[in-house]
């Protein structure tokens, strides 16, 4: 019997090595796998490369992981947002490396990694500082920038519902990077608000089929009241 549901956070986070590239879902706090990020902090893994849309806010979660000095580099689109104090302190002190990527290029690099596409040409960022030093090509009269796939060692995602096969559904704008990142890592760990029996998720509405998912942890956001 396939059963990807794990009973605790330690089991969910087992086997994450120092130096790993960690894909973290979410856009702002929505769809961000907060419990798994806490588990990453507790796991003790360091020298990490984190791929995430944002660079954390406040002093908890991703911000705390960075403050503990466990993140060598962050690859993101928008590290500066209200309350991103830890990132800004570390960046100003030269204690964290930053790779800034346009949001659609980040999404497509992740998609490509999951889809077996090593690189692609995109019009985004052509003629800007973010394309400096990159290979370009003119195709049918338009200029494009070569971008490479961005695979992860581990993806941490948040689902709305999950079953024991690892099938996932998403809720509203909590979908964001989660289904894309779930395809792009060697090990995909999902936290979910609800566990459903196998067969109870409508097949037409499953956002991530279980073949992409290795572990599922039940971690409801009770405080959110939804």
């Amino acid at each position: 019997m396939i059963d990807k549901i794990v009973t605790d956070l330690t089991e969910a986070m087992a086997g994450i090595s120092d130096g790993a590239t960690i894909l973290i879902g979410g856009f702002g706090s929505v769809g961000q796998p907060d419990t798994l990020i806490e588990g990453l902090i507790e796991s003790g893994a360091g020298d990490l490369v984190v791929v995430s849309n944002n660079a954390g806010t406040g002093r908890a979660g991703l911000a705390r992981l960075m403050e503990l000095g466990r993140v060598r580099k962050i690859i993101c689109t928008y590290p500066r947002s209200a309350g991103s104090v830890v990132f800004e302190e570390l960046y100003a002190a030269g204690k964290i490396a930053l790779e800034i990527v346009p949001q659609g290029t980040l999404a497509e690099r992740l998609r490509a990694a999951g889809a077996g596409i090593p690189a692609f040409f995109t019009p985004t960022a052509y003629g800007t500082k973010l394309a400096e030093g990159k290979e370009t090509r003119r195709i049918d009269g338009r200029d494009y920038v070569l971008e490479y796939a961005l695979p992860g060692d581990v993806a941490l995602v948040e689902a709305w519902e999950a079953d024991r096969w690892g099938n996932l559904t998403y809720r509203a704008s909590g979908r964001n990077f989660n289904p894309v990142m779930a395809t792009a890592a060697k090990l995909t760990i999902a936290q979910t608000n609800h566990i459903r029996d196998l067969g109870d998720l409508a097949p037409d509405l499953i956002g991530t089929p279980g073949l992409y998912v290795d572990r599922v942890l039940h971690a409801p956001r009770e405080a959110e009241g939804v």
Partner: protein
């Protein structure tokens, strides 16, 4: 000089932010799929009449975004690209991040309205970085939107707070995308980017072309 004093002397008044947003909304026809950037562009949605169906896309994965929620509608799972709580209209849908930017890059949006620091007469836009090396850069979806939407319009103040023109011959700030802006709505005028320079389509009542020229660092076609 305060606006009141300026009005008394010159007889014209710049549009406030709401009037600017409303002016852009006037020009968006029914049936368009539109992305509105963070800040003043987001306000435009409030001025599209309810009887005119315009479908708003938000780059975090919403097609058919609605206005801010009432307390009963409030859902912490539903935010826009500016991370404010929003609603979904009837007929709306959600897509993941790669699909959301496929919509953008694939030319499926009729229009994107962005804020900007500067727009050059050839349509170059600078809106993501002041080039300040002490600050971490942050780009979000600005470059994808600029490169991908069928039309880019810009909404911005005509000059900076200290009076420097934002419409220029060449952008001084780092580019977001070269040659993409079609139209600019400022607090003073509506201008189109043309092969011959900025063409003035409309000015606030009482403003003269020479007064607009004084506030613009590129040739204007009246």
């Amino acid at each position: 000089m305060s606006e009141t004093v300026q009005t008394r002397i010159t007889g014209w008044q710049p549009l406030d932010r709401k009037a600017m947003a409303a002016r852009v909304a006037d020009d968006i026809p029914e049936g368009w799929y539109v992305n509105l950037g963070i800040g003043m562009p987001t306000m435009i949605a409030d001025y599209v009449p309810e009887t005119r169906e315009v479908v708003i896309h938000s780059e975090n994965g919403i097609v058919g975004m609605g206005p801010a929620p009432t307390p009963e509608q409030d859902d912490p799972w539903l935010i826009n690209a500016g991370k404010q709580r929003v609603t979904l209209l009837k007929g709306g849908s959600y897509v993941h991040q790669a699909d959301s930017f496929a919509i953008i890059r694939g030319g499926h949006l009729d229009l994107c309205v962005l804020g900007a620091f500067e727009v050059a007469q050839n349509g170059d836009i600078a809106n993501w970085s002041t080039g300040d090396s002490d600050m971490a850069p942050a780009v979000g979806g600005a470059m994808d939107l600029s490169a991908g939407a069928k039309r880019i319009w810009v909404i911005m103040q005509h000059t900076t707070r200290d009076g420097r023109p934002r419409l220029v011959e060449r952008c001084g700030y780092p580019l977001t995308a070269p040659g993409v802006v079609k139209r600019i709505y400022t607090d003073l005028a509506v201008l189109d980017v043309t092969p011959d320079g900025f063409a003035v389509r409309e000015m606030v009542p009482g403003l003269t072309l020479s007064e607009l020229r004084e506030r613009t660092a590129a040739p204007l076609i009246g």
